[in-house]
Amino acid sequence: MKDFPHGAGDYARWRVNILRRAVVAEVADINRGIAHVLRGGVLVSVGVLLAGLGIAAFEGRGMPTSVLEPQQLLGPLSTLRPAALLSLGILVLILTPVVRVALSLVGFLRERDRAYIGIASVVLLNLCVAFLVGVL
């Protein structure tokens, strides 16, 4: 009986917590990693961007005016150039939803959920097509 609440406010809070946990347990969590991927992607991106903004402000030479292409990132990144850090942070953010779709596909594959394996594959394929359309 240790958990049992005393007082009206306590009881309401206890009930809400029980219900919330019940829903979390019931909704089959095929994509347990999704929330982590989304949060992780955003946090890494914001961290890298803040570092880039901070270094740019510290150097006092103004903000970089253009992004670097992915191939150009590696060199300047090792010397912590603001332009490289800002480009990397933005790229991480753009790729976060793509990684999320890929992760869902892995989840559905593991579940052998045929309908959703198809659905996730088409979404991923569409993303690739969109990318190719843009590059060409």
Partner: protein
Amino acid sequence: MALGLVELVVFILVPAFLAGVAGSVLGIGGGIFLVPYLTLMPGLGLSLQEAIATSLIGVIATSSGAASVYVRDRLTNLRLGMFLEVATSAGAIAGALVAVYVNTVALFLTFGAVVAFAAAYMLRTREGPRERAELPAEETGLARRLGLSSVYFDPEDGAVYRYRVIRPMAGFAASAVAGGVSGLLGVGGGFIKVPAMNVMMRVPVKVAIATSNFMIGVTAAASALIYFSRGLVEPGVAAMAVVGVFLGTLVGTRVLVRVPAREIRILFAALLGAVGIAMVGKGLGVIP
């Protein structure tokens, strides 16, 4: 033009923060606010394309930041989101491809009308605890096969609601349109998806908002990658926008779950009304 840190904080961080709050509470990316702001604000010196590119980055930040919270709390219907993403992503490609050939006057007028209709509908229907508890009787074969119906916990009244999803193909078609608009105009298209899920598919408004938010990241990522590889993203502005939007989602996601569904519907209807008026104005050439 190179902006300093102080200018970025004042002119980008604060508006981006507001866009992040609005985006996570209303299930939209916030591009509808960010694109006009970034193009109209004097002193930023961004072209329309650069504004769209930068706004798309902000939209992804809103979507991923808010969705991580809504997915964790099981407010997002992941299956419904994946299913409709097929339509939004295909629509976005089609929209981007035909953008050159479309008569924008007709497009804006049509959308003004559609959006105004959705606003009226959202104001007219109620969604109190009683309406939520009443399940629509029929569940069509496809919705059942795809396992779209689900359950969510609403902290507003501390209750668990089971809901059934109906008319999956109607929602699919509306999502394709939303994707097309997003490819054409560089916005997330949440202002179409949320009413479509809520009104047509009978998804509770908070679930519709969380699921729309979840989908927007994928739609925006496709176009953002294109703009990024063309070098149209202004790094300083985009970086500050991401930070601002991220802080906004931290606030907005706390607001959504607590505010009564009725008030969210009224807020959303107001947004739709404003968007409708702006679109008709644009179509008629009253607004530049």
